[in-house]
Amino acid sequence: MATVTTSIARPRPQTQAGVGQRITTAWKQIRHSWQLYVLLALPLAWLLVFAYYPMYGAQIAFRDFLPGKAILASEWVGLANFERFFASPMFERLIKNTLVLSVYSLVVGFPIPILLALSLNQLQTGLFKRTVQMVSYAPYFISTVVMVGMLLQFLDLRRGPVNLIVQALGGTPVLFMGSAELFPSIYVWSGVWQYTGFSTIIYLAALTTIDPALHEAAVVDGANRLQRMWHIDLPGILPVMVTLFILNMGQMLNIGFEKTYLMQNELNLATSEVISTYVYKTGLAGGVANFSYAAAIGLFNSVIGLILLVSANWASQRVTQKSLF
């Protein structure tokens, strides 16, 4: 396409600004498309300020930062904040809670949308299929606050419908929201309710790209639906699965702050305190704002997240020859 353009452009250079248009040096190239850089300037400036400056500011994790003082004027304490975190009794608990929630979410939340997509894909386009899709996407749009509000309503000890059913069946009411033991399950399964439908979209899109000839050939060869699903559909969406799995790995330690924080109470704190909520509490919500210590925990979280992402990417490159970058 580009060669066509230049061959058209060449015969009438007079319409353009001059002969110097055919540019080789970078500077001229930049000057030529200066308007593009003007358009990019604002978003780029925003990115540097709101995404990269905080990375620079993260060095307070290595300092004894006091509010009101400049970052560079604060005393450099090296890894002291990190050592304090690793030595604190909270360290083990936070890591354990965070990992339990993310591994549980991944084990349950990763395959279910795939199964749903494969199953929906077997249906012919029609009212039933459209209804299932439409309804299953809907919970995605409910805000986290409302989601947790609904959980509290449904699981209420005395008035919640779930406990009313339990009582009607002769059981004793369960204090769902006040149970550290049940917290991970409530967290994960309510997430399944909210996000499964929406997560299928990407797999359904991938399924539409599978060549129908494969299915036709398989039918001729006598393959049943289950076999076609296993040997055609599943390999067809494997690249998407790998991509999403790697992305999920990178998010392993980033248990959503909002939902965990909103679901927390004194009684379930033993399993519901995760890194992000602890950073918020020590750094901003506590009586004494301990910026440096909280920033160290946050930075630790970010770095581990990056390491997990890169390793998942590397492992996937090794095993499936597919990777993100």
Binding site: Q35, L44, Y52, T131, V135, V145, L152, Q153, P161, A205
Partner: protein, 307 residues
């Protein structure tokens, strides 16, 4: 050589659909129906409870449809001034925030989608890296504080002015949906990049703008964390903070129900109010949802192309 299509196979297939396939189809429909019920039941329950009589709700008599139909809860919800201020604020954040978001996303997406932009890969890498690594909560908070944005409406708008994920969707859209020939043709006619952006790209990007607006607007409407972090002034609180206070912290302002003297009735009304609030808070999103659905699907697909 006539190609074998699904249609031509179907009759034969139907006859052959015995054993495994038939069982599979039955199981498939059953499982999907159960799934459908599980997803939709809580939604119907909330709706029905909010339209029922309070005593029916707390005694568990509401099962599927409203019992002793009443709109009392809604009357009470709408007579609560904090709900209105929260609604107004959330609307402001959603409208102004989305405007800023879409503008920023388009401004970045156009240059970054140009393959001839010098330094494009560096810029793209700069944006992409922030998806996987960030400075963390505390440094971001300190920045917002030092910029004097705390307790201003801008605290909920400027720090979230751009989402890299949505930027990727926009770049993919410009690269795949807008013919490259348009750019070449307009350049031949002496059209500047600014002009091309305003006169050609923007009018052709309406589906993209719809997708972006929807993603961003829903994000703003449901936003809770930024308000929790940056706002202490009650007049600026978005709806989600007020919802948190009522639904989760259970701080129901008794002035809201002052005309009710009896404890049991008050408690019943409190439960009713919560259900009505859930509905009221989700209505704006649920109203646009049926129209928006295909755009959402489209947006997700655009995002998946890039990966």
């Amino acid at each position: 050589m006539t190609p074998i299509t699904i249609a031509s196979i179907k009759p034969k297939n139907r006859i052959r659909e015995t054993g495994v396939d038939r069982v599979f189809t039955i199981v498939n429909y059953t499982v999907l129906t159960i799934f459908l019920v599980l997803i939709i039941y809580p939604l119907i329950f909330v709706m029905s409870s909010s339209l029922s009589d309070g005593s029916a709700v707390i005694s568990g008599r509401v099962i599927l449809w409203p019992v002793n139909f009443s709109t009392l809860a809604y009357e009470k919800v709408f007579s609560y001034p904090r709900i209105w201020s929260g609604y107004g604020n959330s609307l402001f954040y959603a409208v102004v925030g989305t405007l800023v978001n879409v503008t920023m996303t388009l401004l970045a997406a156009f240059p970054l989608s140009r393959r001839d932009l010098f330094g494009k890969n560096i810029f793209l890498a700069l944006f992409l890296f922030t998806m996987f690594f960030n400075g963390g909560l505390i440094p971001t908070y300190l920045l917002v504080r030092d910029l004097g944005l705390r307790n201003t409406q801008w605290a909920l708008i400027i720090p979230q002015a751009l989402s890299v994920w949505n930027l990727l969707i926009a770049i993919t859209f410009v690269r795949t949906s807008i013919p490259h020939e348009l750019l070449e043709a307009s350049q031949l006619d002496g059209c500047s990049d600014f002009n091309y952006f305003v006169r050609i790209l923007l009018p052709l990007s309406t589906p993209l703008i719809a997708v972006l607006s929807l993603f961003y607007a829903i994000g703003h409407w449901n936003q809770f964390f930024a308000a929790l972090l940056y706002l202490t002034n009650k007049d600026l609180f978005p709806l989600q903070i007020i919802l948190r206070d009522i639904l989760i912290s259970s701080n129901v302002d008794l002035s809201m129900v002052e005309d009710i003297k009896i404890m049991a009735a008050r408690e019943a009304l409190r439960e009713l109010l919560k259900y009505a609030l859930i509905v009221v808070a989700s209505v704006p999103v649920l109203i646009i949802y049926p129209f928006a659905q295909r755009y959402f699907v489209k947006g997700i697909m655009l995002g998946s192309v890039k990966g």
